[in-house]
């Protein structure tokens, strides 16, 4: 009588193809394949960096040589041959442009295909955009307006050139070059990224945004982002990521560092939809990212919000070090895995200051034959009097071939602190699907409604423009018939 059944739904859901899979023909300039000290020197020279930066990179590189790739995450990984990657790829037309009109039209087309026409965004939302294609920042809008407020928002390369004292003071202070394998690698070879400094008492008047996109084949993308919020300042920063379809696994090992001084607040939102590989698990991006924020001053606050739908493998643990008294760390996450995707993500909250607060809300959605893990650490150190943490990790399963896992680590050494952790696992029940379809919705519509309802608590934390895009992304990653 009807073929509306779960199996069919699962099948449909798991065969959703990557919508953003296309490559742009822009002339690219590559550094030779492989990695050695000369490549590090090449990158540094190409970017006309001061001596201290080269030394810093080389130190990181030498340390990296002594490290081993981590194996602890719950993921099957195809070993990356680090000598078989390009470490530098820049669009050849050196884009020193005055307006968006001068941007390579091919590139603009790319953004149009992504559905984020920057012109539109610029006009309608007043978002200042720093676009990173592969490794080089192409165009930064709204520079002047920001400049008037004393806000520095530019590519990392420009920051190294124009504000070396700030870079020197902060780079590597939150994520040391020796922190982990990928952070060390990133420190050695990072090619670009965004830099942001908000001076004392300034509230950044607009959302700052970076759109990352991996384009060239066989490149590893190593961006480095550094955000400094000086005393009493506020900034909301958005990061979006897409990568075209490639058969090879591309490596993405970014580092994001945030420093929030006294009374400062930083909101960092990510929508990540790197290419997840095809439905048989071929290709896709390895997303091994180190993101960490330091609540340096009293009453500072750092919030991470992420919607993760892409990448074939994601290892990512945006963290907060709550050093200042009364500082606050937050982590809101929706991670969707489908087909053969593997995500191992969560947050680390380290409470050092007194009366510090942290909150972790993680919503995992697994479909297909994917694996979705929450891994997180709440560490209340001895002196962190009256600290509080609340963590909620929910998993939603679609189909019976996927896995959902929760690995929370809780370490407490202070008796006046309260830590609570809750986790539940549930499935999209047939009853709910039947109810929705009896009200006239087809599978895709019903799914979108249910998923967005499930993830609402996190989506609500995103800035408006992003929330809409994120909802669409969730729908795209889980539905076959949307479009």
């Amino acid at each position: 009588m009807t073929d509306f059944n779960e199996d069919k739904l699962i099948e449909e859901v798991t065969t959703s193809e990557y919508k953003y899979g296309f490559t742009t023909d822009i002339e690219q300039e590559f550094a030779p394949k492989g990695l050695n000290e000369d490549i590090v020197r090449f990158i540094s020279a190409k970017k006309e960096e001061p001596e201290f930066m080269l030394e810093w990179r080389l130190k990181a590189y030498r340390h990296w040589l002594t490290m081993k790739e981590p194996t602890w995450a719950k993921a099957d990984i195809i070993k990356t041959d680090y000598q078989d990657l390009f470490y530098y790829a820049a669009p050849k037309k050196k884009p020193e442009l005055e307006s968006l009109d001068e941007v390579d039209p091919e590139l603009l087309k790319t953004f149009d295909k992504l559905g984020i026409s920057i012109d539109e965004q610029k006009r309608l939302t007043g978002v200042a955009v720093d676009i990173v294609v592969d490794s080089v920042s192409v165009k930064t809008t709204f520079q002047k307006e920001l400049k008037e407020k004393g806000i520095i928002f530019c590519s990392m390369s420009d920051a190294v050139k124009n504000h070396p004292e700030l870079v020197k003071q902060y780079i590597g202070t939150v994520v040391p070059t020796t922190d982990n394998f990928y952070a060390a690698l990133n420190s050695a070879v990072f090619s670009d990224g965004s830099f942001c400094y908000i001076p004392k008492g300034v509230r950044c008047p607009m959302e700052l945004s970076t759109y990352f996109r991996m384009n060239a084949a066989m490149t590893g993308q190593f961006e480095r982002t550094l955000i400094i919020a000086d005393e009493g300042s506020y900034v909301s920063y958005l990061e979006g990521c897409t990568a075209p379809m490639r058969d090879e696994n591309q490596l993405h090992a970014a580092v994001v560092e945030i420093v929030a001084h006294k009374d400062a607040e930083v909101k960092y939102s990510t929508v990540q939809n790197w290419y997840p590989g095809d439905k048989d698990g071929k290709g896709g991006v390895y997303n091994f990212v180190t993101k960490r924020g330091l609540c340096e001053g009293d009453n500072s606050k750092i919030s991470w919000t992420q919607v993760e739908t892409g990448s074939s493998i994601t290892w990512k643990y945006p963290s907060c070090i709550l050093k200042g008294d009364h500082s606050i760390g937050e982590f809101y996450s929706v991670a969707v895995t489908n087909n053969h995707q593997q995500a191992d993500t969560g947050s680390k909250m380290t409470h050092i200051g007194k009366n510090t607060r942290s909150r972790i809300i993680s919503k995992g959605i697994s479909a297909g034959v994917s694996e979705n893990s929450y891994r997180g650490l709440v560490n209340i150190t001895k002196g962190a009097e009256n600290s509080r943490n609340f963590s909620e990790c929910d998993s939603l399963l679609i189909g019976d071939k996927c896995g959902a896992h929760t690995f929370p680590y809780i370490e407490i050494a202070n008796s006046s602190s309260v830590v609570e952790h809750e986790a539940t696992t549930s499935k999209v029940s047939e009853d709910i699907l039947f109810y929705c379809s009896q009200r006239g919705m087809d599978e895709a519509q019903a799914m979108e409604l249910i998923i967005n309802g499930y993830a609402k608590e996190v989506l609500n934390k995103l800035p408006m423009e992003f929330a809409v895009e994120a909802q669409k992304l969730l729908a795209i990653s889980l539905e076959g018939s949307v479009g």
Binding site: M1, T2, Y435, S437, R439, M441, N452, Y454, K456
Partner: protein
């Protein structure tokens, strides 16, 4: 032309044959009551008309508005104007009533080739219809049926019925678990929605509901078939004599 025509319908779940050749014809403007003992197949009938996949139709057909819908999917039937008020309304965590209704109405409109309903009109309609079943407007932002009392869930079903304006409404034991005040609210709501273009099939175990929603026809369902049909007075007779009486006299009407 009849609105709903059920012809020799046979349906089973797993190896259990529940409907064994059921016939029913409903015309626009009519209210039919289906009564019967527990396990006679009342809820199955509603589910099968709505298209629930758990049941396998292994004989007969369902014709709606002149079209054989036996092979259509649940949402396609809903889009054609069949509404099922659930016996056990489902809770949907995180999805607000407003959002749920918006998705539903727009799905129905899309199927008819219409544009989505403007937000202003939608809100206006929500306010109007929620008053009909005496639902507080605050409930619109609450998750669908989550944490609702039994009575609230049933009222929510009638609210949705009012919002979606179906051609055919199947009320599956909407009266069960309701106190008398809630029953009156629900019945009043249904009575206000009755008109010459729509029809209701009211499934109930108790005659009580039929004091408030007065049916044009009463059918008695036993062992997967309609064994007796009559006017509203049949319900009273049933109440008095019990279902055993019908079963004993089943042969009379066949």
């Amino acid at each position: 032309m009849s609105l709903l025509k059920v012809e020799n319908l046979q349906a089973k779940i797993e190896d259990n044959q529940i409907l064994k050749g059921l016939n029913l014809e409903v015309n626009p403007g009519e209210v039919h009551a289906i009564m019967g003992p527990n396990g006679s197949g009342k809820s199955t009938l509603a589910s099968v008309i709505a298209g629930r996949e758990d049941y396998e139709v292994n004989g007969g057909k369902v014709i709606f508005d002149g079209e054989d819908i036996t092979d259509l999917e649940v949402h396609e039937r809903a889009q054609k104007g069949i509404f099922l008020a659930f016996q056990y309304p489902v809770e949907i965590p995180g999805v607000s009533n407003a959002n749920f209704m918006k998705s539903s109405i727009n799905a129905l409109r899309k199927a008819r080739g219409e544009e989505p309903m403007p937000a202003k009109d939608f809100l206006q309609r929500m306010r109007e219809k929620s008053a009909l079943v005496e639902i507080d407007s605050k409930f619109m932002s609450r998750a669908v049926n989550e944490g609702f009392s039994g009575g609230e869930k049933k009222r929510n079903e009638i609210f949705q019925l009012a919002m979606l304006e179906p051609k055919l409404a199947l009320l599956d034991e909407t009266d069960s678990g309701l106190d008398i005040d809630a029953l009156k609210i629900v019945s009043d709501g249904v009575n206000k929605l009755r008109n010459e273009n729509n029809a209701f099939v009211v499934i109930t175990h108790y005659q009580r509901l039929l004091n408030y929603i007065v049916p044009d026809y009463v059918h008695v369902l036993a062992d997967g078939k309609i064994v007796k049909s009559g006017g509203k007075e049949l319900a009273l007779e049933l109440e008095e004599k019990g279902y055993e009486w019908v079963k004993d006299h089943a042969a009379e009407t066949v």
